[in-house]
């Protein structure tokens, strides 16, 4: 196999054969090494959360990855391929430029809160697809919270663990750990930034984040988009729940109860939360 090994033959056949073999071995080894190097580099650069979202996004079913512009009816069918990073999505820019897109509406709209199936979402804030929201405060920071559907999904909270003040949170990355008697849920941070205030006492909590200057809220849903999105989310919830083979259905258009886990305690709620809160 190597020129110094007895039986090495200096003929074209032998050498071609071994060359091919060594090439294959080198290509395979290089590929693996490259993957290792690149993953280390990426981990250093972007952190675990980002990559985790990269990989999680790929696994989201197409129904979850629906483009906000489809939800608002601007386009008939479009699935997001940009990991919900609307800020650098050319399509999104195009729609924004048209001026007609609901995405361009300001968050602090004077329209009343959107209500779908008894779930009421105020329109004075931006919504993350993982059912957290961000609302700009007078001091320029954003307060972060969980929306009404999220609240009902969680039911009574036992404890909340917020990132300590000063830590960086990232969009799509789990930031808030919520423990209930049905398990543990991870809530995503809607924006990139630094935690400036965090206070959790029992089941009550409050958190403020100072957004990174280079970051934006472009990816968050707002105003007229909230209604169609919530409708879809309820459908998604229904499918998730029906998938779980339990007698709990929204099919009749009924109102989701105050605390869904208490209504169906036998369910795998962690899985439901993971699905609905887009846990990576």
């Amino acid at each position: 196999m190597l020129p110094w090994v007895y039986e090495f033959q200096w003929n074209a056949f032998h050498i071609t054969f071994l060359l091919i073999f060594f090439t294959v071995a080198v290509v395979v080894a290089t590929t693996v090494v490259r993957a290792i190097v690149r993953s280390n580099r990426r981990l250093a650069r972007e952190g675990h959360a980002r990559v985790s979202w990269h990989s999680a996004f790929e696994e989201l079913p197409a129904s979850t990855r629906v483009c906000r512009h489809q939800m608002s009816g601007e386009v008939r069918q479009r699935t997001c391929v940009n990991e919900f990073a609307c800020a650098d999505c050319p399509e999104h820019q195009r729609y924004l430029a048209s001026g007609q897109s609901p995405s361009s509406s300001r968050p602090l709209s004077f329209t009343p809160a959107v209500t779908v199936s008894g779930i009421q979402l105020p329109t004075d804030r931006y919504y993350d697809r993982g059912h957290t929201w961000a609302r700009i405060e007078p001091d320029g920071t954003f307060s972060v919270g969980v929306d009404e559907l999220g609240r009902r999904l969680l039911g009574p909270v036992e404890s909340v663990e917020l990132p300590p003040i000063g830590t960086k949170v990232a969009t799509h990355a789990p930031a808030i750990r919520i423990t209930t008697k049905h398990g543990l849920a991870m809530l995503r941070s809607p924006i990139d930034g630094e935690v400036t205030y965090a206070c959790a006492e029992g089941d009550r909590w409050k958190m403020k984040v100072k957004m990174d200057p280079q970051s934006s809220v472009a990816h968050l849903l707002r105003g007229p988009e909230i209604g169609p999105w919530l409708t879809r989310e309820l459908e998604r919830l229904q499918m998730t729940l029906s998938d779980q083979k339990v007698g709990f259905s929204l099919a009749d258009g009924g109102v989701p109860v105050e605390s869904m886990p208490d209504a169906a305690p036998k369910k795998d709620w962690e899985a439901v939360w993971g699905e609905m809160f887009l846990e990576a």
Binding site: L2, W4, V5, Y6
Partner: protein
């Protein structure tokens, strides 16, 4: 720069990685293969100076000249002595393995049968000898000598002569048929009747000469009359399939055609039998047509000298009557007068003994029933075709004991009460007394080549214990050689092929030296024109023959199948073989084991057995499990069995297979088991 522990570790790591790119680890890995090849579980070859020792093969009486290639004095192979022109047989080629036979008996021991198993309990030589009853007027001894003509044979005979009522017994065919030899080299037409003529019946050298002559087209014609297509039948020029057990009828019919009944010295009853046995009357019983019989006779008379050979190897020797008929037919064909059959001379007796002081050999079958208290079986390793029944019937019902001198626990030894093992071949001086079909008698001595295994006892010592006169084994042989020298007859043939008349050998000492260096003494016999006492038919034999012929004619078309034992002749003259013989018996299809029964497709169909199936073969009281082999080359209605000892029986001391006990032509049943 200070050297940290981390630096050292990194250096070690890098060095390890670097070694991988050097030839060193790979070369070592490569060598692993060689190490595994020489692991402790792989036998090591011997090392030492190599020498070539001339000797003779003493495994069977034929005594072919050999050269032993020895490593550090231990033979690693036996080859035919170059220049002797006498090749070896497979058994001779592996004769040096016999000292390491797995069934070797380590020392004197008692034998006990427990169910199927044979158990041995060792005991000291003194204890063993003490168990031998003293031989006196009341208690007689029978010494069964399966290799007569040796130095110890003379001592046995002298001992028996001094103890009236005792017997010096030899196998029947040694007593009768083997008193004549056949000059196959001179014959032009040979009819082999149920004889493995080309399959070890004589020495390999003589078989080779027949094949050589035939391939040179010198007119030699070999006819085979055999129930099965034996190997001889395969190689013969013409094969006549006969019904099993019809050999005597065939010979009588040929005697009829030879007009032998007109011979003046024939008994009237014999003459009557021959006269009425026309080919037409017996052809059907023989399984041929009268035309075929006449044709065979024509071939026999067309180009002489002609010879008819029958049986010859122990287990297949048809019977004494048939041997006598063959002798008479040969005589009628002129073989006696033209020297094609000769009366073989006896080997001179040992110095210090006189022929008239020695007992005459008794055929084993002539020893009366229940007449002896002590049986000593010698030469058991030499031949094995004696059945245990033929010995046990002679035992006195009271306290009787059978002692075997066999070095291995096979054949008769496994039935004996006590074994006092003699040395294996090439462990002490061995003797060869000549092939029983040869026209010459011969005597050769093989030198010890192996270190002698402790526990083996020379037969001289056992006899010495009985007679009170102990003689050394080598001294006994030297006496024998001196006796031969004193006869001043015959010649010696050295391993390189040169011959010298005994008269020009200076003394018994030089003869001993020559013999122990591989030379062989031979003495050719005279034409057997005169009557040979052992082969003349007496009245009772004639009656038996008449009865057999009528029985055969009556049972012309029996529905049962008939057993045809066939054998590879050397095997019957050797009760145990080298373990390497698995090459011929199990590892190739060359020699069937005694468990294989060949039948024609039609017979297999009729018996409801298939090729490869295990079936039960039953003949009278005997029954055994056999593996069926369907063969196109066999006549329907026959089952061909391999006779002799179980050639692979080196693994267990079980007695030989059923085929040995079944007479030729015995009716049998084959059933699916």
């Amino acid at each position: 720069m200070p050297l940290t522990r981390r630096d050292i570790l990194r250096f070690a790591g890098a060095a390890t990685a670097g070694i991988v790119f050097s030839p060193l680890p790979w070369k070592m890995l490569d060598d692993v293969a060689i190490w595994t090849q020489t692991g402790p579980w792989i036998p090591k070859v011997p090392r030492g100076p190599i020498s070539h020792v001339p000797s003779i093969c003493s495994v069977c009486p034929a005594g072919c000249p050999v050269t032993a290639r020895c490593v550090a004095g231990v033979p690693s192979s036996l080859r035919a002595a170059s220049g002797s022109g006498q090749p070896l047989c497979p058994i001779g080629l592996t004769g040096h393995h016999l000292a390491y036979h797995p069934l070797r008996v380590a020392g004197p021991c008692l034998v006990e049968h427990r169910g199927e198993k044979v158990l041995t309990t060792s005991l000291s030589l003194d204890e063993a000898l003490r168990r031998l009853p003293s031989v006196d007027g009341d208690r007689s001894v029978m010494i069964v000598d399966q290799r007569p003509g040796r130095a110890i044979s003379d001592r046995y005979r002298a001992f028996v002569r001094q103890h009236p009522g005792s017997f010096y017994a030899v196998p029947d065919d040694d007593a009768s048929m083997r008193t004549v030899g056949y000059d196959l080299e001179r014959a032009h037409t040979i009819l082999a009747v149920s004889t493995p003529l080309l399959d070890g019946w004589t020495t390999p050298a003589r078989t080779a000469r027949l094949i050589e002559r035939r391939s040179k087209n010198d007119g030699l014609r070999i006819l085979a009359a055999d129930a099965a297509r034996s190997r001889t039948a395969t190689l013969a020029d013409r094969w006549m399939p006969i019904r099993p057990g019809s050999e005597a009828a065939l010979l009588v019919a040929l005697l009829h055609l030879a007009h032998a009944h007109r011979q003046p010295d024939m008994t009237p009853s014999m003459r009557a039998i021959i006269e009425r046995t026309t080919p037409e009357r017996v052809a059907a019983a023989i399984g041929v047509t009268p035309v075929q019989l006449r044709h065979v006779y024509e071939k026999l008379t067309e180009r002489g000298p002609s010879l008819v050979v029958v049986g010859g190897d122990g287990s297949n020797s048809v019977d004494a009557e048939t041997d006598r008929l063959a002798f008479q037919l040969n005589r009628a064909l002129g073989a006696a007068s033209n020297g094609a059959i000769r009366q073989r001379p006896a080997i001179p007796v040992s110095e210090g003994l006189r022929e008239r002081d020695l007992a005459v050999a008794t055929p084993l079958s002539s020893v009366p029933d229940a007449s002896v208290a002590l049986v000593i079986i010698d030469g058991d390793e030499g031949t094995c075709h004696l059945s245990w029944e033929s010995i046990v019937r002679t035992l006195h019902p009271g306290a009787s004991i059978v002692v075997s001198l066999s070095p291995v626990l096979t054949a008769l030894a496994s039935h004996a009460d006590l074994i006092i093992p003699s040395p294996a071949p090439f462990e002490s001086f061995g003797e060869a007394t000549g092939d029983g079909t040869d026209i010459a008698c011969r005597y050769g001595v093989s030198r010890p080549l192996h270190p002698r295994r402790p526990g083996s006892v020379d037969p001289e010592l056992v006899l010495g214990h009985l007679s009170g006169q102990v003689i050394e084994h080598e001294a006994a042989l030297r006496d024998k050689v001196a006796g031969i020298w004193a006869s001043r007859r015959g010649q010696i043939r050295t391993p390189d092929g040169s011959t010298t008349n005994l008269t020009s050998v200076e003394g018994a000492g030089s003869l001993w030296t020559a013999l122990s260096e591989g030379a062989v003494w031979t003495l050719e016999g005279a034409p057997a024109s005169a009557s040979v006492r052992a082969l003349e038919s007496d009245a009772s034999a004639t009656d038996r023959l008449a009865a057999r012929l009528s029985e055969l004619a009556a049972g012309g078309a029996t529905s049962t199948i008939a057993v045809v034992p066939t054998t590879w002749a050397p095997v019957t003259s050797c009760s145990r073989l080298s373990p390497l013989m698995t090459k011929l018996y199990q590892e190739s299809g060359l020699r069937p084991t005694s468990e294989v029964a060949a039948v024609a497709p039609a017979t297999a169909h009729a018996c409801g057995v298939e090729d490869g199936a295990v079936a039960e073969l039953r003949a009278g009281e005997q029954s055994s499990k056999v593996k069926v082999r369907v063969s196109d080359s066999l006549a329907p209605g026959m089952v061909q069995l391999s006779a002799g000892p179980d050639p692979v029986g080196f693994r267990s001391p079980e007695p030989p297979a059923v085929a040995n006990a079944l007479p030729r032509g015995r009716a049998a049943e084959l059933r699916k088991s």
